[in-house]
Every structure is written in C-alpha cells, then in structure tokens.
Symmetry: C2
C-alpha cells in the first residue's frame, strides 16, 4: 500500500472508467455501486468524536491493506489533501460531494485505475465503491461483494437480523447499496421526451439526477439513474430491475436518435455542427456551455459524423473541463472565472486540434 | 445596348464593387454617389400618369443608349423583372428598396460590372448611380459628373437658377446628390463607441444608417454614412467633407481594433473564433445571424487570423446570404424561412470549405 498524495500521479492517467470501453457505452457511460458499511461497537461518524474518527481510520486502513483489491494502491488521509485535490477526486467521481467538505478525520483508499475505492468516515464508516465503463452492474456487483465478503471476515459490521446493514441515514438501511448508471440522453432531451421518461422512472421507484450536483439537471444531458430503496429487496433483485429499466431507456434513446436522423436531419446536424464549431474555435467558454457542447459533440461522434474523434476523448473532456481539473492542470488555484474560461477553451481546442468533420 | 433580363447573366459574375480592391477597403467596403435628375416639361413621377411614365422611359432609354458609359450594357423594363429579380438587384445595391416595389412603368440601365446604373422613374425621372469598392468618392464624382454632363447635352433638366436641380422630394433639391460610404465598424461596436460616433456624425450634418433597411442598425456592423443636405454647398464641398469625416472614422475604427488586440485579445479571438466555427459548421442559419457572424469573420480576416481567406470572399458572402440571392441561386421561390436557413448554411459551408484558421 502506497501512502501520500495520489492526485498528482493519477492526474497523469486517463480516467480509467471513461477511457475503457464497456457494453452499451455509447449511451451508458459508466455504472457504479456504492455500499454503506459501519463497524459494530463504534459510534457512527455523524455522532462520533474526533478521537473515534481517528481510530476508525486506523482500523480500516489496516483492514484494507490486507485486501487483495487494494494491496498495491493508495491510502490517503483527507487532511493531507488540498481542497483542490479533493475537488479533483470528486470530478473523477471517486469521492462524494459531501466527502470533499469533511472537516473530521477521514481517509480514502483507492486503486490506481480508480475503479475501486473506499471512503472512510464519510456519512458511514465505509463507503465502498466500484465504477466501470458501460452498463456492467452485474460484474461490478460481483467485484464489490467479493470485497465486502472479505471485509466481513475481518470486521464485525453493524448489522440487524431484521433490518440488514445499519447506516447513518435511514434511507440506506438494509442492503446499504446504491447502484447507479450514468446515461447520456441527448436524443430524449432534443425530442422533448426526457420529462416523460423521468416521470416513468420515478414511478418505478428509481431516482433520476443530473450528475453535476443540485440544479444541474440538464447540463451535458448526463443523467444518473439509481435505486431509491434499500429495504425489502435483495441486491440482485435491485440490480436486475435497474438493469432492465436502463436497457429500456437505452432503447428509447436510440430510437429517438434514429427518428431525428430520419426526420430532422438538418436540425440534428446543426445542433452537433454548431457545438463542434464553438468547441473548436472559442477562446472563452464556461463550464456549463462546454459540457452542453461536449454532449452534442458526443452525439455527433456516436452518429458517425466524426470518424477522426474517439468517443473516449469526449468522455474524458467531460471531466477535464471541470474547474478542479482545469486548476490542477494549470498547477494553481484560479479564482477568476473568466481566466478559467480561457484555459478551458484552450484545453478543448488543443484536444480537438486534429479532429475533422466527415463529409455531411 | 443589350435588352432582356440581365439578372441571370450578372448573377454569374461576382459583384464588381465587392470583388475589386480599393483604397481603405479593409473598412470602407464601397463608396457610392446617386444623382437625382428630372426632365423639364414632364410631370415628376409621383404625379404623372402611366402614359407619361412610359414616354419618359422611351426618351431616357434613347438618351442612355447614346452615352458611351452604357453603350454595351443592359436596359431592362422593371415589369419584365420578377419580384425576386428586383430583390436580387436591391441586394446588390443596384436599385433602391422603393424601386423594387414600383408598379408604374420604370426601367433600369446598368453596366455589366454594376458600377454605373440609372433608375428610370424611381422617385425622380432619373437616379444616376456610380458605386466602386473602397473609399473613392473623388473618382466616382468624376465619372458620374461626366455622365451627367453628357446627359445634359441631350436633355433639358428641371433646373432652377436659384435652387439648382429640382426633385420630387425637397430633401434632394439643389445638387440632387447623395454621396455615401459603406463602412464595416466592428471595432467601434465591440468597444461600445459606436453610439458616440453616430452622435458626432449627426452633429456634422451627416446621416448614419444600417445598410439592410429600417431597423437593421447593427446587423453585420455595416453602416452607411451619407450627406444629409443637398443645398448651399457645391458637390465638391460635400464630397470633401464626407471624405474627411470618413477618414477620421476609419482611423478610430483601426485604433479600436488595435486596442482590443492589445488589451482584450481573448475576447476578440473568442468573438471571431465562435463566429467562424458557426459559419463553418452550422446547418441552419438565419440571415441576421449569418450577417453578424460574417462581420466577425471579416474582422478576423483583416486582423490576419485567416491567411487562407480573401476579404472579398467575405464581402461577397454579405450579398450572397441574403434571401433574394439564395432563392435566385436555388432557381426557385422559397417561402419557408427554415428552408432558406438550410440553404444559406450550405452555401456558407461550401464557400468556407477550404479555409483554415492560422495558429492563434
């Protein structure tokens, strides 16, 4: 297990779960499962004193070091990370938004490819995470439950025979599992069917959220679909249901795209072309405009309009254009938003330098 | 003198006064002088009967045929032209907006390069026009007054010893001359100095107008500066004053551009780059957006950002993207605005196909 600030090292890598290919990854960018676990006999993080937080970090560090999944990877205490580094990890979806602002002793364990990680002392003692590209909930479940089983050999989890795993927030009690898939749904958005889809998903007991935090519902046309409930169903049941619904959404998204291509070809080409033109030639671009334009570009790549552009480059740009990554790349804190907008535009121009449009 | 519909032939040519080079044509796109003249002993067009209109057309046709300036060129009766052809001529600045909608017998005489023309039975019996690229009021005055002198050998003009030339509208009495220069002023607009400039020009007794008709003040950042008054000053005095003011405006425009390049380079590059990106990759574009984007592109060309693009190509696009030219090019009337917007975008993409940006 390597200690120390991992951020500078991982920033040199592409984001593993974005650079890889996976099933249905034209629409399902990534799948993720998080498990909430707590140690029996220890106060849960929201009620614990700093000394207890610290001792939990030490216990869990030792346990994680013993696991094959993390044997050669990173352990880092959150207080050793700058606010910027924390933000970078959040933008890479390794840690939660809440974890970024933690003041109490907390830590992070993660693999070098970022596919597996454990937040120690987030809302619960442990939040195990596994994330992979494409729609791969089954595979992820196998991986994460193997780690969970191994952990349970070393740790007594807070567990109730009737309720299941006990968690700080009652919404996680039971399986403690949150499975989610990040979907790129420009077709449903452009053909104004997204609200209907969201309502239908809500009725099935699943949640739909924008991926860039509160109030970012439509940014980049990226949506995260996840289970709402952790009680009364097994993990496999939850995953199977989510998987089935996601496959239906993917089917609808594809059919929206085909319909637009047939019936509103110019509208679609215009939408993609303008976004591409702006990304390739702007010198100042906000985060929101960049994410929305990248969404249109990704749609264009998927529809075969840019044979010289790899969809994973676009996926990666979704991460790289965010404020944390921009500043980390520049090697300094940049408070001025316009200055960030200039850097963002330069980064995008550079990444798209060799891209050409195919003949329409 | 060749009779018949000249429009199909001239559309094959580039617009002469836009394709040529001329002094200061980076900012002064073209200069134009119009002279209003009427025949003595004939009712002025607004008061005349159709029979009189017709006889004036015949008289003036014979006179024009005898002039060297028009000896090998076009004569066309307005009623032989479709509404679309008239519009095309207006977009090429050969005829006035009022002339397009004339119902009474009227005609047009013009040279093949479109630099000289006579509207017969517009508001006055004759509106002589000469238009050339760049700032060339002196040269134009020489040409048009030579034609005017020759005409006066064959025609008795309505003339009053005290007032000068008599015209239908009292605002033209005296010299009957309207001299104007079309200026491209994106620098003054972007640095928000245009209104100050317009006020100053107004105080000097000159008029500033957008070039695409009423309420198009800012479209394309193209402005026409002209003399307001036709009484109390000689033609040379009017032209000298206009020339002096135009040279000052050009100086201000250039200094605005240099200041922006020094102090707001990213703002400027962004403005030009985005416009270029949209023009090059849009599949639907309105006339107004096209003109505004072309304005930004023209600024970029002038500032050396596009060595592979000739400024005259941009000048010409200002004409070609307008609705009349688009429809004439397509060979049919197109009532549907979106259909025109699609054609417009395709035309622009084609014209800019081989253009590349220089390294910023």
């Amino acid at each position: 297990m390597i200690s120390g600030n991992p951020i500078d090292r991982i920033l040199k890598n592409r984001v593993g779960w974005l650079a890889d290919s996976g099933p249905d990854d034209d629409i399902a960018i990534s799948s993720r499962i998080r498990l909430a676990r707590n140690l029996a006999g220890h106060k849960f993080p929201p009620c614990a004193e700093p000394a207890e937080h610290s001792s939990v970090v030490v216990i869990l560090r030792d346990v994680c070091e013993a696991l094959p999944a993390f044997s050669e990877d990173f352990f880092v205490r959150l207080d050793e990370l700058s606010q910027l580094d924390r933000r970078v990890l959040m933008e890479r979806r390794v840690v939660s938004r809440d974890f970024v602002s933690k003041q109490t002793p907390s830590a992070l364990v993660m693999t070098a490819d970022e596919s597996a990680s454990v937040m120690i002392n987030e809302e619960d003692h442990m939040r195990l995470q596994c994330i992979l590209s494409g729609l791969r909930l089954g595979e992820i479940w196998e991986r994460i439950s193997e780690t969970d089983d191994l952990l349970s050999e070393h740790i007594a989890f807070a567990y109730d025979e009737e309720l299941g795993f006990l968690t700080s927030c009652p919404t996680n009690i039971g399986t403690g599992m949150r499975a989610s898939v990040m979907l790129h749904l420009p077709g449903l958005v452009l053909s104004e069917q997204i609200n209907q889809m969201k309502q239908a998903i809500g009725k099935l007991g699943l949640a739909v959220r924008g991926i860039f935090g509160e109030g970012t519902d439509n940014v980049g046309n990226l949506y995260q679909i996840s289970n709402q409930s952790t009680l009364g169903e097994s993990e496999q049941q939850i995953i199977e249901k989510l998987d089935t619904v996601i496959k239906q959404i993917i089917f609808h998204e594809k059919s929206c795209r085909m319909k637009m291509l047939e019936r509103s070809r110019n509208f679609l080409m215009n939408h993609v072309g303008r976004a591409y033109g702006v990304l390739k030639h702007a010198y100042i671009i906000s985060s929101q405009e960049a994410l929305n334009s990248l969404s249109a570009l990704r749609l264009g790549v998927d529809m075969g309009m840019f044979s010289s552009l790899d969809i994973h480059t676009v996926n990666e740009l979704f991460v790289l254009v965010q404020p944390g990554h921009l500043q980390k790349n520049a090697g300094k804190q940049i408070e001025n938003a316009t200055e960030r907008d200039v850097l963002r535009a330069a980064l995008i121009r550079e990444k798209l330098k060799s891209v050409r449009t195919d003949k329409g």
